[in-house]
Symmetry: C2
Subunit: 488 residues, 2 copies
């Protein structure tokens, strides 16, 4: 088992080891019953003392996450539904995956009410238009399916994208854009190119779990910066950077995922100044800025970026056709050329067909479509919040977002969110527990519910089901003597 240890970290070595093991256990990478390496073996491979490893194991055992016994070694606790499995050579074959919460939370979406998924229901997407372009392409120019696209992406589409971004005050040349298979790949390419063990990455607290997975995979030291209603607390970030200079700052400034908060213009400006003074990169992940309900968010940080400090990632998957996996990355100079090099080794470039199929829609019909989509999403949000206001038990709170796809609910401190999640799944309903939007075992009282990925009727049924479930959970809890497991 490979664990990136950082001797300059504020966390002790035993703490770093137990944090990593906890994240592996929490994401199912170390399944119940799997055997941990011996204290001696792990100490040897990590080049630390056996005492350090023993302390880490003792901390995990004290929290019931693993069981150790003399002579037999340590095993991941079987949990409620787990089985003890026989470890074999594969279990002992080292890997470099410290966590995988995307995989853990999204691998099986076969529930009736998938509130965990931040997606837009197919009936709201322009699939017929994109599909008809695609059909003409494959029938009339089938050779488009034979081409390895170029690594950077189709030139014509990049021209259209440059125009699209210009209308949003972002001035970039087609040569300064790269197409990727979704924003997730964009984030991943940045991380594999520029982030390595011990590099400090700052993120909003909470942040997108898929970005956290990626930075964790690179051995980054992640620091989560608190937010208020104006977004990331750049004043706090400035002080943190004094102690630990940033390699990279990851932000979702508009309708942040998962909190829904939008960063103010002055914070955006100060963040960019900070990046300039530290000569570091900002990754501006922007899936939602077109999905505003009242007025557009402040201009993108990229629109103010004169010296190439911002890598801007614009997802088109979410808003147009998730299955087409398309995003656009804007960067310049040798930051961009290194990202293109990384793209080449990662998959030889994204398919030309999907790029060409989306081109006419983005160039001609996008703006009108986005206007209509905003109205539909806004109505859905209104319905969801109306249900919350009417049926949410006392102690549940939320801030109504001004755009985006999801609600970030704070639950009463007494709620055991993991248990609530299991109960919900039994009823065919899923949500995203807030703690996966942090790293390092920070407990969260929040959950994320998306209001756009079902039909309106399903959404209403699902919200009522969830709120009823939450109510019953809290009543049962209030009635139950403490310490006794709830059987709802």
């Amino acid at each position: 088992m490979h664990i990136d240890l950082n001797r300059q970290s504020r966390s002790s070595l035993p703490q770093q080891i137990s944090d990593t093991l906890e994240q592996r256990i929490a994401s199912g990478l170390l399944p119940p019953g799997s055997r941990l390496p011996s204290v001696r073996g792990l100490a040897l491979s990590l080049k630390v003392s056996q005492v350090t490893v023993s302390k880490a194991y003792a901390a995990l055992a004290a929290r019931g996450l693993i069981h150790c016994s003399h002579g037999k070694g340590c095993y991941v606790a079987a949990g409620e539904s787990g089985q003890e499995t026989a470890g074999d050579w594969q279990d002992r074959y080292d890997d470099y995956l410290p966590r995988a919460q995307l995989w853990h939370n999204f691998k099986d979406s076969a529930v009736a009410y998938p509130f965990h998924l931040a997606a837009i229901h197919s009936s709201l997407l322009p699939l017929r238009e994109i599909g008809s372009t695609m059909a003409s392409l494959v029938l009339e120019q089938p050779e488009v399916m034979a081409a390895y696209g170029n690594f950077q992406g189709d030139h014509e589409l990049r021209e259209v994208m440059a125009g699209h971004l210009l209308r949003r005050s972002i001035r970039v040349q087609p040569e300064e854009l790269m197409m990727t298979s979704g924003a997730q790949q964009g984030i991943d390419l940045v991380a594999r190119t520029f982030v390595g063990p011990g590099d400090t990455v700052y993120l909003e607290a909470p942040s997108y779990t898929g970005a956290i997975d990626v930075f964790a995979g690179r051995g980054a030291e992640m620091v989560f910066v608190p937010m208020d209603r104006d977004g990331m607390r750049v004043d706090l970030l400035t002080r943190l950077c004094d102690r630990r200079p940033p390699k990279l700052i990851y932000t979702i400034p508009s309708y942040q995922n998962p909190s829904g908060v939008t960063m103010s213009l002055s914070r955006r400006q100060r963040l960019l100044e900070l990046a300039r003074s530290y000569r570091c990169l900002i990754v501006e992940d922007d899936p939602f800025s077109d999905l505003y309900f009242q007025s557009p968010p402040p201009p993108a940080i990229k629109s103010m970026d004169a010296a190439g400090h911002v890598i801007y990632i614009k997802s088109f998957s979410k808003v147009l056709a998730p299955g087409c996996r398309m995003a656009c990355v804007a960067a310049d100079g040798n930051i961009l050329s290194r990202l293109i090099a990384a793209k080449s080794s990662s998959d030889l470039g994204s398919p030309l067909l999907t790029q060409r199929a989306m081109l006419p829609f983005i160039s001609g019909k996008y703006d009108a479509y986005a206007g209509k989509l905003r109205r539909q999403l806004s109505q859905r949000l209104e319905k969801a919040t109306a249900l919350l206001e009417r049926h949410a038990p006392p102690g549940v709170s939320w801030i109504t977002p001004q755009g985006g796809l999801s609600l970030w609910l704070e639950l009463p401190a007494s709620v055991n969110i993991n248990r609530l999640q299991k109960l919900a799944e039994e009823k065919g309903l899923s949500f995203l527990p807030g703690d996966v939007c942090y790293a390092g075992g920070i407990p969260s009282r929040h959950i994320r519910l998306c209001y756009s990925q079902m039909t309106e009727q399903e959404q209403e049924q699902g919200m009522l089901l969830f709120l009823g479930l939450l109510q019953a959970y809290l009543q049962e809890e209030a009635a139950a003597p403490s310490g006794i497991a709830l059987k709802l």
Copy 2:
């Protein structure tokens, strides 16, 4: 600049530093005129002495790759067409890309005769069939474009794939397969999951440059194992493993890329035994086993794998529709589950649409198509070798491959392959220089020419052009006084 140093390596530290810098320069990641870090700065960041860095720089300067001057620092030599550029903060922003030969060699394929590209011309591919399935799908079930596929790949396609592999003696369940965006992504996922700094990866000498890029990017210690006519010398590999246990062995056993050599059955068996005894993984990359010209190659190593030591990667992109970016990875147990976790953070899964579009062809028409394709490729190979036999200058040699897409030519020792490449590119013709199929500056007298990616007429014209160029080069060279640059 980040450089993975291995103090257990047989190479000295200055050698490791200069090797990495050389690879970065050779792949254009450090462009002509860019400034290298100061000796003091690099020594500090790599935690080595300044003497070590100075030795590395001196070695590069002695070979003309960089220029150093007192007070001004060291710069990458401007080369023949290069310009000195002003370094700025971006040039000094650290990355983790030690090389990028795929990017360097394939980013611009706009030549008239792209012999460097191992691809099949669109007229030979079943694009109309796949296109018509795709058109029906997007018109009749447009919601297929809205779905994030599952991370592992479409279940129905995995069932078809399991049947396809079974007909090739590979017994796997649909649950033991994962779909990836081409074989390149399959290799990349294996590397990011299981390979890290200092891990030993064994490869054939020469090997696929895209795999070398990926393993280099993970900081692996790559060891290239010589081949003979029966493939990788497993006897030599066994002795090498005694000194340096393998983390992973990467092989292309059938019609190896680039050499065309096929590994014998007994070597395949011995390789698997070796992997078992070292409890390591074999990555069996198999794009070409269906493209045999006389008789099929020996069974895949995966077909003999009882204990999950083989990760089998089958590309369908090359043979069906490169732009659809599709490959299938067979592995089991918690080797596979970790690969699926890595796939999730890398791009959230491959598009469902392309998977569904290729499904009917693979399940029903593939075998008949492959038979026809084999005959067409075999005829093309015959034509190419006939031209070689008639027109190749003395000293050029090759082994006629029994399958696959390319010829591996050995040129006379006197040929400066980089110069020949520049001359060829001026005439609109490209080939792959052999040295990119190794790592660490191993000089090669080989080049790879593919015979399947143009029309037959273009192929013939291109071969004649190339052979004429080579002839003229050798004549000029014979006439020129040594030491004077050729101006062909």
